[in-house]
């Protein structure tokens, strides 16, 4: 199974685990309804749209309410640490959480004891915790945006708010250099999908692909459009694509969906997720064929 874990912005939502299904604009898990908006909701929504198209088992999700104090984060990490071996997911994607290096370290130790290691994906606060705790190499892929990549490359930063001034507004062409720095500092896993005006897929310093088309700059302003990429990567990896291919297809899908939706800075992330089905129908076979032909 694929397991997605992260907090949702509903203060009193208890720790909840179950198979997710869609109900209009909402997602339903064990009877609880959560919005398909910025954060874990957008990531789950993207993963669900992908598994539905590919006729795969829907994602299992582990969520808890957290509005910033870390209570939901603690419940999620404690649950995972105690039960990850029994849950035995094939893909584990960690998302919005209060960055807590101790909780992350204990989870990574528990994963080391699993009979079979899951494909490990992190974004948002979980990625921050993994980097700050020097645990990036416990993961297979991170999906940072430009400022988060600067954070991964900055040896001393424990949060993107503390990156060095010269790293802010770094030109997109500097992405490979920042990834190289991140690797040197132990701030990067094997694969990085760096999201920006040009998306880079880089494995251990080697650029595997750059994706710049279609160019939809408005996507950067829309809350949740980075989260959907991570959800796509998780679901495509679960479908059996190699991680680097999952990253490339995810970046192309998100851009193309944004273009088809005709987004503006006012658009909501759900409008983009709703286009995934159309994008997959039109392009997935071609994109996969391109790799096989290459």
């Amino acid at each position: 199974m694929m397991l997605i874990a992260g907090t949702v912005p509903i203060a009193d939502l208890p720790l909840t685990i179950g198979t997710v299904r869609a109900e209009g604009e909402l997602l339903v898990v064990d009877g609880y309804r959560i919005p398909r908006t910025q954060g874990t909701g957008a990531m789950i929504g993207a993963a669900l749209a992908t598994t539905e198209y590919l006729k795969l088992e829907s994602p299992q999700v582990l969520i808890a309410g957290d509005t910033g104090r870390g209570t939901g984060t603690q419940k999620i990490y404690q649950h995972l640490t105690q039960r990850i071996a029994k849950l035995a997911p094939r893909v584990l994607a960690l998302h919005y959480c209060l960055p807590n290096m101790g909780l992350m370290r204990r989870l990574c130790e528990a994963i080391d004891r699993c009979p079979k290691r899951p494909v490990m994906i992190a974004d948002a606060g979980s990625m921050y915790a993994a980097k700050a705790g020097r645990l990036a190499r416990e993961f297979d892929i991170f999906t940072p945006d430009a400022s988060e990549l600067a954070f991964l490359s900055d040896r001393n930063a424990t949060h993107p708010a503390y990156i060095s001034r010269h790293l802010f507004n770094t030109d997109i062409a500097q992405t490979p250099k920042l990834v190289e720095e991140a690797h040197k500092n132990g701030g990067a896993p094997e694969i990085i999908l760096a999201k920006g005006s040009t998306d880079y897929v880089i494995r251990d310093g080697e650029i595997l692909a750059t994706i710049a088309e279609p160019d939809v700059p408005e996507l950067e302003a829309i809350g949740g459009t980075g989260d959907t990429i991570t959800g796509l990567v998780a679901a495509l990896a679960y479908a059996g694509l190699e991680l680097q291919e999952a990253a490339i297809v995810a970046a192309r899908t998100n851009r193309t969906a944004g273009k088809l939706a005709g987004v503006s800075p006012v658009s909501k992330v759900g409008e983009i997720i709703d286009q995934f089905n159309v994008v997959f129908k039109a392009f997935l076979q071609e994109w996969r064929g391109r790799r096989e032909a290459g």
Binding site: T7, V8, P9, A11, P35, T37, Q38, G39, T40, G41, D66, T67, G68, R69, G70, T71, G72, T73, Y96, C97, L98, P99, N100, D123, A124, G125, S126, M127, Y128, D145, S147, E148, F151, D154, R155, N156, A157, T158, H159, P160, A161, Y162, I163, S164, R165, F168, N169, P217, E218, E220, A221, I222, G223, G224, T225, G226, S264, P265, V266, S267
Partner: protein
Amino acid sequence: MLFQDVQDAMRGERVLKKARYTVRLVAPPPELRRGCDLALEIDVVEQPGIERALKENDAAYIEIAPLKKESAELLDIVGVTDFGRWVMVKAANMKLTFDKESGVIVNISGGGCPDIPYLHAEMIDKQLKEAPRPRDAGFTLCARMLDRALEEALAIWEGGEKA
């Protein structure tokens, strides 16, 4: 977190533990030492919420000093992208976009801490001046960066209004 005297440090610990923050009384590293020889070790990501909890309880402290000197300064610079009718303001990992004509916040993106999706829901579709301030409603460094973006957006909006 550095304190003038031991009583302040112990009071700070009590207040924060009551507010359910994980904190520890430690000896301050010599290079950071100011005031007394007790300090509180906190998670810097939770700095905004911790500062607010102390303020609300009139608990005094000197300053919060990250252990690594090289990372001692919060990023203060912002970036601005003009989308025609809309402007996106970026502070560190946070981006806030508003309508130039109405001053209404139309989108918030970026971030990774759990108060950001909450603030996203609370701030979208509100006028810049009427939206809740992340510094008051949030708890994390992501919220502080979102507040910085809001501050800059307000300055741009008010400059435009005056013009």
